[in-house]
Symmetry: C2
Amino acid sequence: MDTSVSRTLFSQRANRLTSSAIREILKITERPEVISFAGGLPSPEGFPIAELRAAFDKVLATQGATALQYGRTEGYTPLREWVAQDLSRPGLDIDPEEVLIVSGSQQALDMLGKLFIDQGSPVLVEAPSYLGALQSFSQFQPEYRAVPTDERGLVPEALDDDLVRDARFIYVLPNFQNPTGLTLDRARRQALVERCARLDLPIIEDDPYGELRYAGDPQPGLLELGRPAGATVIRLGTFSKVLAPGMRLGYVVAPRPIISKLVQIKQATDLHTATVTQMAVHEAVRGGFLREHLPKVRELYRRQCGYMLDALQAHFPSDARWTRPEGGMFIWVTLRPSIDTAQLLQAAIQRNVAFVPGAPFYAGAGAPANTLRLSFVTVPEDRIRAGVRTLGELIGPAPEHA
Amino acid sequence: MDTSVSRTLFSQRANRLTSSAIREILKITERPEVISFAGGLPSPEGFPIAELRAAFDKVLATQGATALQYGRTEGYTPLREWVAQDLSRPGLDIDPEEVLIVSGSQQALDMLGKLFIDQGSPVLVEAPSYLGALQSFSQFQPEYRAVPTDERGLVPEALDDDLVRDARFIYVLPNFQNPTGLTLDRARRQALVERCARLDLPIIEDDPYGELRYAGDPQPGLLELGRPAGATVIRLGTFSKVLAPGMRLGYVVAPRPIISKLVQIKQATDLHTATVTQMAVHEAVRGGFLREHLPKVRELYRRQCGYMLDALQAHFPSDARWTRPEGGMFIWVTLRPSIDTAQLLQAAIQRNVAFVPGAPFYAGAGAPANTLRLSFVTVPEDRIRAGVRTLGELIGPAPEHA
C-alpha cells in the first residue's frame, strides 16, 4: 500500500486509542510454553459441546429459514422470555419487554456508554474495575470517579453528594468481581441500592460470574434489592460463562424506557444479534439443561481455585495477601509496596509465566503498583503449582523486620 | 416499575434518537395480509440451509472447543484468508492482515463512525443514501454534505474543494445502490477515485449487493481502481446477501493503519464476532460453494425484478419514472411533483400495500417528497402485480397536458 491516512482525518476518540497492555501480554502468552494466569478465558472443559451441536442442528433442521433471516433488534422472543423467567423470583417479576439480547455483554457496555456518556460526563467505577468496561466507556470520554473499596469490596458510604454530583451511573460487579474476586455482602448491597435510589443514580450491575458460585451463600442481586428500594438498576448477564463465549450472547435487563433507547442504539450499531445463535442457545437451555450443567462447571472452577490458593500458600512470601473468591475466575494479590508488578511481569515472562499487573484496572490516577490478577481456570494443576512457585521465587521472601 | 430515568442522565446523542420511520412502517407490514415492498430482507429461497446446517455440524463435531471459545478480535484467520483471496485479482493483491471480520456490515458503519467522526465533522453521502448508514453515522453527530446524483448515480465532478473541505470521508454504494438501484459506470468510478486521491478524501465503498448482478457487465470495484490511483478505499462486504443475514457476518478491507484502529475499536465494542458462525461460514464457502450457489440466487432476483418492472409498466401512470437495476433488491420510483409519497403510504396501508417513501434516505434538507423505494425480492409474482396495481390506482393517471 502506498496510501497513508492522515491522523487529522481520524476522530479525537480514535487518536487517543492505544493498544491495551493486556492485549499485548496476551499475544506473548499464546506461546504454548508459557504458563499463563493472564487470560480471562473460561475453561473449555465446561463447554457443553454435544448439547450445543445438537441444538444448532435441530434449529437449522426445523426452522432454518427463520434462523438464517434478519431478526428483531430486541432479540429472539422465546429467548427474551426465557431470560425473564430465569431471573424472576418471588418479589421480582421480570417482563420479557425489559430484556434486550446483545452480542455479548461487552456490547452492552458499549451501548450503555453511548446511552449515558457525553464528553466529560462523570461516571462512577470501582477502584479497581473490569478493564473491558473501562475501555468501552473511555470511547465516549467520561470523567471517571473512583469509588473506594476495601477488603470487602465497594464501600457504599463513600457515595456522598460530592462524589455522585452530575454522575450518569455507577458501574458495579457485585459477585466475584473482575479483577479482585471479591463479593459484596448483603448489608453493603442493601446500603448501595438505597443510597443510589436517594441520589437518583442508575446502577449498572454487571454479573457475568454470578452462576459460578462454589463457596459461601448466594446473595440477592442489586436488581432484586434495588427495585423495591426505588433504584434504577440495569443488569447485564451473559451466556459466555454458563455455556460458552464463542457465541457472543448476553442480555440487558432494565426499565422499559432504557430498553427502548438501547434498542434504537443497537439498531444503529449492528441491527440485531445473530438469529441462529440466539435460537440455538434457547434450544439448549429451554428444557432446564443448565440445572444439570452448572454444578459440573462450578465444581471444576472450585477445584481449580483450590489449586491456586494452595500454591499461593506454599510459595508466596508471608507478607503477600490475596483474596479467597467464593466463585468466578480470579484471585487478586497484593504484594509488599516495594514491588512493582509491571517489572515483575517482565521478569516472569523471561521464565515463561504470565499474569496481569493490577494498575490497568484503575481508571484514574493513584493506582497501586504492587497488585496483580491471577486467573486459574484453564491451567492444569501441576502448571499452576510450577507457575506460582516461579512467581514466588521472583518476588522473594518477606524482608526481616518487615 | 416505579422507577423512571431522567432524560438529563442520558447523553445528548441518546436524547436526539427517535424511532425511525421505516422501523415503524415495518411493524405494520408484519401483518400477513399486507403486500410489503418496504422490506430490505433477502429472499429465504436463496438461503443454503442444508449446506449451512452441515457446516455448523462439522465445525462443532470436529473443532467444538475452538468454535465455542473467545477468538481474536481481527476475526477467524482462515476466514480472513478466504476473503482476501476472494477479493484479490490481477492487479489487486489483498493481504489477510487488511481484512477485519465484523458482526454484519452495519457494525462496520458504526465503527467507521467512531473512527472518523467528531461532533460536527463533515462527511459526504450520496443524496439519497442507505438509511442504516445515516443512522450509524448520526450517532456521532457529523455535518452531512450531500453529493449530487443524477440518473447515472453520483456525479464525481461535484466533488470540488468547497464540498470536500475538512470532510472525513465519502460514503458510496457503487453497485445497485440502496435505495436507488443505480450502478456507477466505469468512467465515473475512475473519476471518483482520482478526485478522492487528489483531495485526500477516504472512500467508504459499501458493496452488499455486488455479487447479485443479473444484468449488464460487472464493473471494477472502487478498491480495485482506487489503489493504483493512490486513493484510500475502505471496502465493506457481507455474507448477508450471498449466504444469509441471520448470522450477522461481514468484513472490512482497508489499509493496515485503519484496520489496526478498527481492531482497537472493535475490542471495546464487542470483543470479537462470534467464533462459531465465522467457522461455519468458512466451512461452507471454502470449497467454492458460492460458485454454484450464487447463479441460483441471481436468477431468482432477476426474475423477481422482472415481475416488478412488468407490473410498473402495466399499472403506473405515464409520467412516473423508475430505475432499472442491474442487480440487487431495489427499484426507485419518481412520481409527479404534486404527489407526496408519505401521504401515499398512508393511503396504501389502508389497502394493505407498503413501501418506503424516499425522503428519509436524504441526509440533509431539500429531500424530494415524490420518490419511493420498492423492494421486490420476497414477494410472490401475483402479489407484486396486485400491490403495484393498487399503488397505480392510488397515484392515478397522469394529468392531461402534463
